[in-house]
């Protein structure tokens, strides 16, 4: 009965209870002992009255606010919590190793995720530096039947689209341009830029910082105007706002600067980040009619209130009309609208999503690890918890103490994690693939970083509080009954955590393994050239003095002679576009004797101008026929050299040399060119893409294309050693020609695999982190388990269990966990790897060797992690073990 009364006393505020509880109980029991002898009625009466008395007074006391005034509560809580924090800090410092491991583990997870979330958010979510970017679309020519998509459009098609479509407020075309600009100070510099047709700036949403954008009448001949990019204006004209209205020399022709653009990191297509000057594009009569030469990019702004689907339908209708009017050139051709963001970051989106998923896994593993560590520590702290409970601490009080500790840990980890995040972003900056790096500037995005940090800290608190709660509950429940070491704490929660950890590590490592294999395959693809000992650079011939092949020829012949005379140089030649560089356009193409191409996507061929000796210099094998010579002039027989893929496709089993090709679909007798040689295949844009059909033309026979200004030089020694000699020789021929873009061919190839390397490096790093964390997890669990079982192991060995038996026992405990984790991980990975599919090159997602290797690796690493605790267990001296406790 006294116990029930004691329970009822809980109605009183605790402080009251602590002060008078015993007295109340004494008074009641005294009454009770007296009354219960005098019959059941009296007893019931006493009980009822006592209960009513306690309830009424207890409630009144509670309501009286004498014990629980809000202010008193607040005043009491903060100092108490502060002292909790102080105690937590002392505890952390008392076990520095454990604290350091926990903080570093969490900091690693937090740092990695904060930085990657930040970068991914910038790339995928935050607005690009274009006004209303969601309405900006790039326009591609598209043949729905064959699936061909061409980034470049023919000017005549563009003019029709602009005239006939209704869904767009602005439309413009851009064509790459290289110009020589005389900067402030009189220095001739090479500038990359665009020829601008129509409202390209308005469509993109690029505003001028100073001045005005191009207007329609700027496209008249004689209106020599130019717009400068912000970067170029700063670098070359000292950010002088007075430049607007002044005249500068562009390609040896005075042009009035009408505007400086606001800063923008990249304009889609073209050389990333380096757009410097913009001049109006004045179409020639031929270009106005041209539907076969796809030479410009088109961009449009969808009208407000018009959806992308409606705009797409509108432009498809227009394209259908054009196709019926010009069936030879446009049959089956439509237009595809692609949102700007898709163009800029579409390639890396899958990679970023995979990375975000991977980094979340690592954060989770880190949290699991910390949870597991703290669970171990909390288990050893049950004695302390018991003492606290015995001294009157309730479960909430215990949890508050543990919460303070978790919060301390999480905040410390968050602070260190932020530092890690800064480093990670700095590293990301250097390994980000070129396209992405120039689209935005990777940095810690503060709102996102803060959000990610908050989530991380919450995760950390939860993961460290969960075990604490678990233990506190048990401590409170069993405080009275349990003595020290009476029964062993259950390790099941930790076992589950470690298994989960191993499984997640398997998933990450499987991804990393697949990407590694893919990358190895990719980099072992034959580039078709001999990239070692090759230096490349670009020269820009001013159009005014180098109008066409007649002016080009003396320059390039002299250049080749001069370069070859540099000691250590074995060859030098030029091309209009280097392989693996996406340089070089495509043209319509017809092979003699073949049925006229209907809707065949291969009617376009990669088209490059080269100087004699190019194939030998760059290391492309001549498989048949001859190289070009200086006799292949504009007045001679038109000749071409094709690549092996083209020869095989159109003349399988025959010799292609002597066959003829034309660059129009309805050739007249004079339009044919004769194939004089066949060379090996090279990749046009990247090693991962299939080989295109390619065709080379002697530069002296092509007046309408870009001059072969991309120069390759083969050296005996280190290619970069001759850079200054090269500059000197070029200057000796024409001091006004700008030279730029010195780089080795190997570096150029490296750039083409930058995106897969980026993903690989990151996933690899994440996989490695996961591996290390799970090893720590397994090791920690076993070491702890051995320590807790010292007595049991001592008994076993006293009863005759040998060293080997005990080692095997501990090892098998660890390996069993690892195996379960590995099996679970493989199952999860098999389900998850399909997300990687688009990023793999010639490797199946379900690649047995990769999965096998990952499983074996983890098992081996787990065995190593188990070995040390197993040895320690085996060395336990039975006497010492039994004397503990």
């Amino acid at each position: 009965m006294a116990r029930i009364y004691a329970l009822l006393l809980r109605i009183y505020p605790r402080a009251f209870r602590e002060r008078f509880g015993e007295e109340l109980l004494f008074a009641f029991t005294s009454d009770w002992n007296e009354t219960k002898r005098s019959g059941i009625t009296a007893a019931i009466r006493l009980l009822t009255l006592s209960a009513a008395d306690v309830i009424a007074n207890g409630l009144r006391e509670r309501r009286s606010n004498r014990w629980y005034s809000p202010r008193a509560e607040r005043d009491a809580f903060m100092p108490a919590f502060l002292s909790d924090l102080k105690f937590g800090l002392r505890l952390m410092l008392r076990t520095p190793q454990l604290t350091a491991i926990a903080v570093c583990t969490l900091a690693l997870g937090i740092g990695l995720s904060v930085s990657l979330y930040s970068v991914a958010h910038q790339a995928l979510v935050s607005p690009l530096p274009f006004r209303d970017e969601s309405r900006v679309v790039m326009m591609y020519e598209h043949a729905p039947q064959t699936g061909t998509i061409r980034g470049n459009v023919a000017p005549a098609n563009f003019l029709d689209w602009r005239e006939r479509s209704t869904a767009f407020s602005h439309m413009g075309a851009l064509r790459p341009l290289s110009a020589t600009v005389i900067a402030a100070g009189g220095e001739a510099v090479r500038a990359d830029g665009r020829l601008v047709l129509g409202d390209a700036f308005q469509a993109l949403g690029l505003d001028p910082l100073h001045g005005r954008l191009f207007a329609a009448d700027d496209e008249q001949p004689g209106r020599d105007v130019v717009i400068l990019s912000h970067r170029f204006w700063q670098a070359r004209f000292a950010a002088d706002p007075a430049i607007v209205g002044r005249s500068i020399m562009v390609d040896e022709r005075p042009r009035t600067v009408i505007a400086v653009l606001k800063p923008v990191l990249r304009v889609p297509g073209g050389p990333p980040g380096f757009d410097e000057v913009f001049v109006p594009w004045i179409l020639t009569a031929q270009q106005r009619q041209g539907r076969m030469s796809h030479i410009s990019e088109a961009v449009a702004r969808v009208k407000p209130g018009v959806t992308l689907v409606q705009a797409q339908a509108d432009i498809a209708r227009v394209a259908e009309g054009i196709a019926s009017e010009h069936p030879q050139s446009n049959k089956g051709e439509s237009v595809l609208l692609v949102p700007l963001r898709e163009v800029l970051v579409g390639d890396v989106r899958p990679a970023l999503i995979v990375l975000v998923a991977a980094v979340s896994l690592v954060l989770l593993i880190a949290c699991v690890n910390v949870a597991s560590l703290l669970l171990a520590r909390a288990t050893t702290r049950r004695q302390e918890m018991h003492v606290r409970v015995a001294l009157g601490a309730g479960r909430t009080r215990l949890l508050r103490q543990l919460l303070a500790e978790s919060l301390l840990l999480a905040c410390a980890a968050g602070a260190v994690g932020l530092v890690v995040a800064f480093w990670c972003v700095a590293i990301l900056r250097t390994i980000l693939p070129g396209d992405l790096a120039t689209t935005f500037d990777p940095r810690l995005d503060w709102p996102v970083a803060a959000g990610a940090l908050a989530i991380s800290i919450v995760t950390a608190v939860v993961s460290s509080l969960a075990p604490a709660w678990f233990v506190a509950k048990r401590a409170a429940a069993s405080a009275v009954r349990e003595g020290r070491g009476a029964n062993q704490p259950s390790a099941t929660p930790r076992r589950i955590l470690v298994t989960v950890q191993v499984a997640m590590a398997v998933v990450l490592l499987a991804g990393a393994g697949l990407l590694t294999r893919s990358f190895v395959k990719l980099t072992s693809v034959d580039s078709g050239i001999r990239p070692e000992h090759l230096l490349t650079f670009a020269v820009e011939l001013p159009r005014s003095r180098y109008e066409g092949p007649r002016q080009w020829q003396p320059f390039f012949e002299r250049l080749a002679t001069e370069l070859r005379s540099i000691p250590g140089v074995t060859g030098a030649a030029g091309t209009s576009g280097l392989p693996l560089n996406e340089n070089g356009g495509s043209v319509g193409f017809l092979a003699e004797g073949q049925p006229p191409p209907a809707d065949n996507d291969d009617t376009y061929v990669i088209y490059r101008l080269v100087t004699p000796g190019y194939f030998d210099t760059i290391g492309m094998p001549l498989l048949g026929g001859r190289d070009f010579s200086s006799n292949d002039r504009i007045d001679g027989v038109r000749v071409v050299i094709v690549n092996e893929r083209l020869a095989r496709r159109y003349w399988p089993g025959q010799n292609a040399v002597g066959k003829r090709v034309a660059f129009t679909r309805q050739p007249k007798p004079g339009d044919w060119s004769t194939i004089v040689g066949v060379v090996g295949d090279t990749h046009h844009s990247s090693l991962a893409e299939p080989i295109d059909i390619q065709l080379y033309v002697p530069y002296m026979q092509e007046p309408d294309w870009y001059p072969p200004g991309q120069i390759v030089v083969r050296t005996i020694g280190e290619p970069t050693a001759i850079v200054s000699a090269v500059r000197q020789r070029v200057r000796s021929i024409d001091p006004l020609i700008p030279i730029s873009d010195f780089q080795t061919m190997e570096a150029l190839i490296g750039k083409s695999v930058a995106a897969p390397r980026f993903t690989l490096v990151l996933i690899g790093a994440l996989g490695l982190s996961a591996l290390v964390l799970s090893v720590i997890g397994i090791y920690g669990l076993l070491a702890f388990s051995v320590a807790m079982r010292t007595r049991e192991i001592g008994v076993r060995s006293a009863l005759g269990a040998g060293t080997r038996t005990i080692t095997a026992m501990v090892l098998s405990e660890g390996l069993r966990l690892a195996s379960v984790g590995i099996v679970a991980g493989v199952v999860i990975a098999l389900a998850a790897v399909r997300w990687l599919k688009t990023m793999l090159f010639e490797v199946q997602p379900y690649d047995p060797p990769t999965f096998g290797a990952v499983a074996i690796l983890l098992l081996a690493v787990a065995a190593i992690a188990c070995y040390a605790p197993a040895r320690r267990a085996a060395r336990i001296d039975p006497l010492t073990a039994l004397r503990t406790d």
Partner: protein
């Protein structure tokens, strides 16, 4: 209820010379000498010839208020026949004053009641 609460929190026993009936009973008991809680209950019961039964919950609430107001204080137990841990309460000087004031007030009331023929003889 709300207003009652406000006042109850602010008014302590002895303020305005007021103590409740329960508090006065306790003070009366302690006026005869130091007692522990249960003894107070018994003393009150004896004084009223069993007419007044005090329950511990009510008693200790009043004791706690009196302690807070400084009208009574805890003193060491005698440690002879009773359990040594028993807490004894003793009336303070302020308690004695408050009890005196309350007694005078009650006496005045009793005089008035008698004058108005509400009370015939001495209790």
């Amino acid at each position: 209820m709300f207003f009652v609460n406000i006042f109850r929190r602010n008014i302590r026993p002895g303020d305005f010379g007021s103590v409740t009936a329960m508090e006065f009973e306790i003070l009366l008991s302690l006026a005869g000498g130091d007692l522990h809680g249960y003894a107070i209950i018994q003393e009150i019961g004896e004084r009223s010839n069993g007419a007044l039964t005090v329950r511990p919950g009510t008693l200790y609430r009043a004791i706690s208020r009196l302690l807070d107001a400084g009208l009574i204080e805890e003193v060491d137990g005698r440690g002879t026949e009773d359990d040594e841990r028993r807490r004894y309460y003793s009336m303070t000087k302020a308690g004695r004053q408050a009890a005196a004031i309350e007694s005078q007030r009650l006496a005045r009331q009793v005089e008035t009641a008698r004058a108005r023929k509400l009370l015939k003889s001495k209790i």
